[in-house]
């Protein structure tokens, strides 16, 4: 399902790229992104070289190129939208093109990173580089329960929809809002139980 594919960018594989340590991959990706951003606007040869590099790594990782392309295309409209603002300036076409290229390259880098690196490994890296514990715990819990909550939400939506006989904007808004509200209440209660489970296994805040 497209939604599942969207929520789980990681593609399991056993290539050399997959086996690189997560910290190194994160550093490389972030470094690449910074490089692209800080390059002069018309460094087209540099952009081309980086693009070639990304393609090379993707091939080495035996990544699902089509899947990654789909992700790229899904996110591209937002990039184009903001870049269009540059066209409002007189002589803004080169600026528009350069912004577009930079953003796309950065997007592609991150897509490649998440396709070859597991989120839990990235979390471990954050922990090692001493990102505040509270933030890492929050990220970990968020990622863990994201799918649980999304599934719960879909179940509630299905239940609502099967009892909504008049399709329309009002009922759609009401249903979505009620699902969200109920989801928060349930999430709150689940958070209580998770707290108890953490305490039961010796956790101290």
């Amino acid at each position: 399902m497209l939604r599942d594919r969207f929520l789980s960018p990681y593609q399991h594989g056993s290539s050399a790229v997959h086996r690189w340590p997560a910290g190194a991959k994160l550093l490389a990706a972030v470094g690449c992104v910074f490089l692209v951003v800080l390059l002069p606007r018309s460094a087209w040869w540099a952009y081309a070289a980086i693009a070639a590099g990304l393609v090379a790594v993707s091939l080495a990782a035996r990544a699902d190129l089509r899947g990654m392309l789909v992700r790229l295309l899904l996110l591209e409209p937002f990039v184009i939208g903001i870049a269009l603002l540059a066209l409002l300036k007189p002589g803004g076409v080169p600026l528009f093109l350069s912004m577009l290229t930079k953003s796309t390259l950065c997007l592609a880098t991150m897509i490649l990173l998440t396709a070859t690196t597991r989120f839990s490994d990235l979390l471990a890296v954050l922990w090692r580089i001493r990102v505040p514990a509270l933030l890492v715990t929050t990220l970990a819990l968020m990622h863990r329960y994201l799918f649980v909550l999304v599934e719960e939400m879909e179940r509630m939506q299905r239940a609502r929809r099967s009892r909504t006989f008049v399709a329309g904007r009002t009922s759609a808004w009401r249903n979505s809002a009620q699902v969200a509200g109920q989801l928060f209440v349930r999430t709150s209660e689940r958070a209580e139980r998770v707290y108890l489970a953490m305490c039961a296994r010796g956790w101290k805040a």
Partner: protein, 317 residues
């Protein structure tokens, strides 16, 4: 309004990253010190909740849908510090895993959506509640208006960053982002109010309530005072264009004098906003903002009234 990589210049990236780090650091410290351990897992789960809720559809017209941003919702349900941490987590996940919002621009996005937005929301929420009271209707009104204000605050911050990076003219980006987000803000306000109404009905204790209510006499004073100020702005503003050159000077400095057709303030014999825009674009902007706020407040007021109505209004004895 997530800013992708490649739009902001190095100076803006650094400045926003620094501010975001400070904001986040303070929030983390506040949570560590004052949040009871029971509520710590809730921050993570609430972040997952915001992420999930952002997927819900709120159809607008002809196939387009609105979506929740969630900063105001988080602030009202978790309090400001926890909301900052939760929204930061959401943005980090969006940026790292879904390439939604750039990596270098993370500082800017965190600053706008995870620090400014929840803080603005909470500030407005508290302020409105201290005037309007702590009942269900007042809480909903405060929530709605807070959501609109937080959207505008984030949009304005984003506009400042885009303009400072030389991507767009200040006047253009302000007009573009401001006007669009006035409408988006209304959607955010209504959606947030609807959701909070559900929570209020099911588990009212989950909605942040630690606000001391003002004395009734003080309340009236503040309400009248606010009305007076807004009224003054609307009535007096046209004549303010004949104020000294100071304003024009400011307008030139900020670089959006390109919107102004005259470099001298023109005398205004009649009350109209268009010539005003020509000579004092700054005031016109402020006016537009104030009008937008008034509209948002009114919308929030009406929706709050509708939502807080008793469940069975037709019950008769």
């Amino acid at each position: 309004m997530h800013v992708p990589d490649g739009f902001l210049d190095a100076r803006t990236l650094a400045a926003t990253a620094g501010l975001a780090a400070v904001g986040l650091g303070l929030a983390l410290r506040e949570v560590r010190r004052n949040l009871p351990p029971r509520r710590v897992p809730l921050i993570g789960l609430a972040a997952a909740f915001v992420f999930a809720a952002q997927m819900l559809n709120f159809p607008v017209a002809a196939g387009t849908s609105g979506h929740l941003i969630g900063a105001a919702l988080a602030a009202v349900l978790l309090g400001p510090a926890a909301a900052i941490v939760a929204m930061t987590a959401v943005l980090l996940l969006q940026s790292l895993m879904f390439a939604d919002g750039g990596i270098t621009a993370l500082g800017a996005n965190v600053l706008n959506l995870a620090v400014i937005a929840p803080l603005a929301a909470y500030g407005v929420y508290r302020a409105v509640r201290s005037i309007a009271g702590t009942g269900q209707q007042a809480t909903l009104l405060a929530t709605g208006f807070a959501a609109w204000c937080s959207t505008m605050a984030a949009a304005l911050a984003c506009a400042v960053q885009l303009a400072a990076s030389g991507v767009v003219e200040w006047g253009t980006v302000l007009a573009a982002m401001g006007s669009v987000h006035m409408v988006i803000g209304l959607g955010e306000a209504v959606i947030t109010m609807l959701i909070v109404a559900v929570v209020l009905r099911a588990r009212p204790e989950l909605v942040t309530s630690a606000v001391p209510a003002m004395q009734p006499t003080h309340r009236r004073t503040v309400a009248y005072g606010t009305a007076l100020v807004i009224g003054l702005m609307v009535l007096v503003a046209p004549f303010a264009s004949s104020l000294p050159d100071g304003l024009e000077h400011v307008a030139e400095r900020f670089g959006f004098a390109s919107l102004a057709s005259a470099s001298q303030p023109a005398p205004l014999p009649d009350y109209s906003l268009v010539p005003l825009a020509d000579s004092s674009p700054w005031l016109a902007t402020v006016l537009a903002g104030a009008l937008g706020a008034l509209v948002a407040f009114a919308v929030a007021w009406f929706v709050a009234r509708a939502l807080a109505a008793p469940v069975h209004p037709t019950a008769r004895h």
